[in-house]
Structure formats: structure tokens, C-alpha cells
């Protein structure tokens, strides 16, 4: 139970930190990192709830985390690509 709380709590804490960071920072890179921190928090929580004591761990959350990571990576890539585009334009001026 304490392990659940510890890992789960840490996940939620990460999520909150990520939201805070997303809201207060202007720079694109920091926002993108903040989103990834949020994501890590959620995945953390998922892994925490997969634990089932003596039983083998629940596979469903693991599958979700994998999928979630894929989605997060592609979203990050798109955000960075668009950010790059904007910066290139700024440089060109």
C-alpha cells in the first residue's frame, strides 16, 4: 500500500509540477518539457497501479504507458518542428 502511495503520489506530484511549469513559462521548449513531465507523471501513476502484490502485475496499464509514450513522442516532435519553423522565419528576417 505504501509503495502504491509513494509511486502514485510521486506521479501526481510530477503532473502538478508539469502543469505549473507549463502555465508559468513562456518559452516553447520549456512548455514542451513541461508537457513531457506531465506525461511522465501520468505514466508513473499508471505503473504504480499496475502493481498487484503477490499477483503478476496488471498488463493493461503497461500497454497504456507504451501507447502513451508513442503519442507523447510524436506530439513533441510536431511541436518542435513547428517551433523550428517559427525560429527559422525569425532568423530569416
Amino acid at each position: 500500500m505504501t509503495a502504491h502511495l509513494l509511486y502514485g503520489g510521486a506521479g501526481i506530484l510530477l503532473f502538478v509540477l508539469g502543469v505549473w511549469s507549463f502555465l508559468v513559462h513562456e518559452a516553447l521548449l520549456r512548455k514542451v518539457i513541461a508537457l513531457n513531465v506531465m506525461g511522465s507523471g501520468v505514466f508513473h501513476l499508471l505503473i504504480a497501479i499496475a502493481e498487484r502484490g503477490s499477483l503478476p502485475p496488471d498488463p493493461v496499464p503497461h500497454a497504456l504507458v507504451l501507447t502513451g509514450i508513442v503519442v507523447a513522442v510524436s506530439a513533441t516532435a510536431l511541436a518542435l518542428a513547428m517551433g523550428r519553423r517559427l525560429e527559422d522565419e525569425d532568423d530569416a528576417r
Binding site: 508537457l35 501520468v42 497501479i49 498488463p59 493493461v60 506530439a75 519553423r85 517559427l86 522565419e89
Partner: protein, 480 residues
């Protein structure tokens, strides 16, 4: 027999592959793919019409591991709307993106978006909804930034970041629900849910995250620049379909997952936000200098109307009156989808013809494009909620519900919203009357003008007169 639900997701995916693989035939393949996708989507709707709800487990895994797809009246109605609107947009796009690179980039993204949208409407579990929501968001952002212009990229980057914030928040809610109830299936979660802090936290997180994506006031700030700067067919998709998808999710969750724990105060809050959106959105639309910005703000207001239904649904006991409200909600959403798509397509034509879309300088342009002016007028009729549009029926039932449940203050909001909408629509239409030379013919470019006109006509006439079909599709009562 092929699984029609799975086809509705895979056919557009296949089309996306084809248009990427054979860029030389992109227009032809695009139209064929659009027709095929529309047909498979409509097939689902027809099957729901005949047999009621459908469910399938592709791969045969079943819950909880497999990815189930399901369709009920609500999703079938929106699926049909998406099919028809998207088909019209596809035809329009063949005329709009005549040549150049953008044409090559548009079609693959467009089919990916369509596929994600269909998957979202048909998904039966909460995590799949997350994935489809993200796919929809990513493709929408890419399409929105298609022009490559600075404002478009900046606006859509903001849209992307906000969308990610929203979907992450949604995902956290999903995780909480899974931790508490051990299932992701919508129906099973809804059956298991009990009032408590976890469920409430999940409700707040998921609704809040989706509210960002659905641009519910005051989380709408990203929408007007993103929608106003995209190419016309993309704006149409964003306003008519993408925003609706997020709203559909909120509705789905409140009806099927959180039905047991939603309190009147929560519903009232959503209604209040809706009211603020109606008035603020309409007001900003009235003050907008550009036609596309006007259309984007009007989307805010229209989403607001949809939110007004929540407190009424909450206060109305199960029965025909509640069914009417629900059907009216869907009817308004669909009508707005058709009308707004038509309006954005028309705005694109105006912009094309005039080189700009500043409302105050539109005088002669409106005169050159009679069919397009008509499109704007018909779409405007729907946005105002005048008969015989679908949104007139929707508003009638909305107001009936407000009076019947004693929540008369919403009437005041609708009244103000309607008058403001009339003001902003006729602000545009009055430019059509001037002393410019008479146009020679009604339609100049059929491939773009006719789809837009048909969309607007559907919203303003067909949906109003044929509204009862929606009741039948959603399985409500026997219409005498």
C-alpha cells in the same frame, strides 16, 4: 461480412496511404477516397437505424484487452454528419487546392484526420478515446498550419500545446478511473461508478481537459486565431468537426460514465460557462473585422448553446422530455456543423475573390458571387436559429426545457444570443446590397460553390424539416 465499424476507421486510413503513395493522382484518389469513406460511415448509420446499437471487437480479444468499437444513435448521427460535411469539404478542396505543394500535403493529413474522427466517434473505451483525441489533435494542427504563414504556424502551435495540456489532463482522469474501478470500458465504468473523491476528481480532470479542446468559455482563447488563419477547407473541418468531437466526448462522459455522480451544481456551472460563451462569442463576432474571425467567434457561441443543455438535462427526469432535449442538443450540434462548414467554405471563396476578408470592404465581392452570398445567408439563418433550420427546432426545445424546469434565466441568454447573432450575420449580408453591377450568373465555379451551398442548405432547411429522423435514429419514442 466485413465489420462495418472497423471499415469506417480503416478505409480513410487506406486512402491516406494511397494519396501518399501516388501523389500524381492525388485529386482523383482524394475524391474516390472521400466517397468511399463517406459510404462506409453512412453504412454504419444505416445499420444503427435498422438494428439499434452496434458493437464489435476487432481481432476478437474482447474487453478489457481488446479494442472495442461501438455505435449508438448519438455516434451514428455525428458519424453521418461528419461523412457528409467531410465529403463536401473534399469536393471543395479539389477546386480550392488546384496546384502546388499544399495539395500534396492536404490529402494525406485530411484522411488521417477523418480516420481519427471516425475512430473517436466509435471508440468504446476511455483510453482509445485518448489516443484518437490525440491523433485528431495532431492532424488538425498540421492541417491548420498548412499555409506555412507565420500567424498560422504560431496559432496552431499554441493550439497544439493547449490541446496536449487538455489531453494529458484527460488522461490523468482516465488513470484515476482505472485505478478505482479496474476497467476502461465506457459502459462498465458507468455501471461501476460511485460518488466519491476519485470519481469527482476524474470528472473535473476529464471535463476540464476536454473543455480546453472544445473551446468552452473561458478556455477558448486559442480557437479564433487558429481557426481564422487556416486554409478555408481546414477551418471548416476544425470548426464543424474537430471542436464537435471534443464536445461529443464531454457529452458521452456525462451521459454514460458520470451519469450517476453529476450534481446539479456541476451541470449548472457548465450551463453558466455556456451562457458566458454565447454572449461573449456573439459579441466578439459582431466586433470582428474579418469574416473568418467572425465565423470562429460564432463557433464559441454555438458551443455555448450546446452547454446550456446540461443543466436542463440534469433537471429533467428520464422520459420523453429528456429524450427531446438530448435529440435537440444533437440536432443543434449537427446543424451548426453543416452551417459552419458552409460558412467557412464560403468565406474562403470570398477571400479568394477579393484577396481579403475584411467585412467592411466586401461590398462588390458579395455582388460577384451570388451563390456564395446565398451560402452565407443560409448558414447565417442557422447560426441565428431562424426557421426552418435545425437549430430553430433545437432552440425551441431548449427554451421549452428551460421553461418547463423553471430555469427561465437561460431564455434571456438565448434571446440576447439570438439578437447578437442576427446582428453579426446581417452585418455581413448588408454588404451584399450595394450599387455594384449585377452578377451575370448564379454560380461561377461549381466545384467549390455548390458544396458550400449544399452544406448551408442542409443546415437551414433539410435538418429542420427532417428533424424527426434524428429522433428515430437515436431510438427515441415513436414519432406519430
Amino acid at each position: 461480412m466485413l465489420d462495418s465499424l472497423a471499415l469506417a476507421v480503416t478505409v480513410p486510413l487506406l486512402a491516406a496511404l494511397l494519396v501518399t503513395a501516388l501523389p500524381g493522382r492525388v485529386q482523383t484518389l482524394g475524391v474516390i477516397g472521400a466517397i468511399a469513406t463517406a459510404l462506409v460511415s453512412l453504412r454504419v448509420t444505416v445499420q444503427v437505424w435498422q438494428h439499434g446499437s452496434l458493437r464489435s471487437d476487432p481481432g476478437g480479444w474482447g474487453a478489457p484487452l481488446g479494442l472495442a468499437l461501438q455505435a449508438d444513435g448519438l455516434s451514428a448521427a455525428l458519424l453521418a454528419m461528419a461523412a457528409l460535411v467531410a465529403l463536401a469539404i473534399s469536393v471543395y478542396a479539389t477546386g480550392y487546392f488546384r496546384e502546388g505543394e499544399r495539395r500534396l500535403h492536404f490529402w494525406p493529413l485530411w484522411f488521417l484526420l477523418w480516420s481519427a474522427l471516425n475512430a473517436l466517434l466509435l471508440a468504446a473505451d476511455l483510453f482509445n478515446l485518448y489516443v484518437t483525441l490525440e491523433l485528431l489533435g495532431l492532424t488538425a494542427v498540421a492541417l491548420g498550419a498548412l499555409t506555412g504563414q507565420r500567424e498560422a504556424v504560431a496559432a496552431n502551435l499554441r493550439y497544439l500545446l493547449v490541446g496536449l495540456l487538455g489531453s494529458m489532463t484527460y488522461l490523468l482522469g482516465v488513470v484515476l478511473l482505472y485505478a478505482a474501478y479496474g476497467t476502461l470500458d465506457i459502459g462498465l465504468t458507468g455501471a461501476a461508478i460511485r460518488p466519491g473523491p476519485v470519481a469527482s476528481a476524474a470528472l473535473v480532470l476529464m471535463t476540464g481537459g476536454l473543455a480546453l479542446k472544445a473551446a468552452i468559455f473561458p478556455l477558448h482563447f486559442w480557437l479564433p486565431p487558429a481557426h481564422a488563419n487556416a486554409p478555408a477547407p481546414v477551418s471548416a473541418v476544425l470548426s464543424a468537426l474537430v471542436v464537435k468531437a471534443a464536445f461529443y466526448l464531454i457529452l458521452r462522459l456525462w451521459l454514460d460514465v458520470f451519469g450517476a455522480i453529476v450534481t446539479p451544481a456541476a451541470a449548472g456551472l457548465l450551463g453558466l460557462l455556456g451562457a458566458a460563451a454565447v454572449i461573449w462569442g456573439s459579441w466578439r463576432a459582431l466586433r470582428a473585422e474579418r469574416l473568418k474571425l467572425l465565423a470562429a467567434y460564432s463557433t464559441l457561441a454555438q458551443i455555448g448553446y450546446l452547454c446550456l443543455f446540461f443543466p436542463l438535462l440534469q433537471a429533467t427526469p428520464e422520459g420523453p422530455a429528456r429524450d427531446d432535449l438530448l435529440a435537440a442538443l444533437v440536432l443543434m450540434a449537427i446543424s451548426h456543423g453543416f452551417a459552419k462548414a458552409g460558412l467557412f467554405l464560403a468565406a474562403g471563396l470570398v477571400q479568394h475573390s477579393a484577396g481579403h476578408d475584411r467585412i467592411d470592404e466586401l461590398g462588390g465581392t458579395a455582388q460577384h458571387l451570388p451563390a456564395t452570398t446565398f451560402t452565407i445567408a443560409l448558414a447565417g439563418t442557422t447560426l441565428i436559429g431562424l426557421p426552418p433550420s435545425g437549430s430553430f427546432i433545437g432552440k425551441w426545445i431548449l427554451m421549452t426545457g428551460a421553461i418547463a424546469t423553471g430555469q427561465w434565466w437561460w431564455i434571456l441568454v438565448i434571446l440576447i444570443g439570438t439578437l447578437l447573432a442576427a446582428a453579426y450575420v446581417f452585418r455581413v449580408l448588408s454588404r451584399a446590397f450595394n450599387e455594384a453591377p449585377t452578377p451575370r450568373r448564379f454560380v461561377t465555379q461549381a466545384s467549390t460553390e455548390v458544396p458550400a451551398l449544399l452544406l448551408a442548405l442542409t443546415s437551414a432547411v433539410v435538418l429542420g424539416l427532417g428533424a424527426q429522423l434524428l429522433w428515430r435514429l437515436m431510438g427515441f419514442g415513436v414519432v406519430a
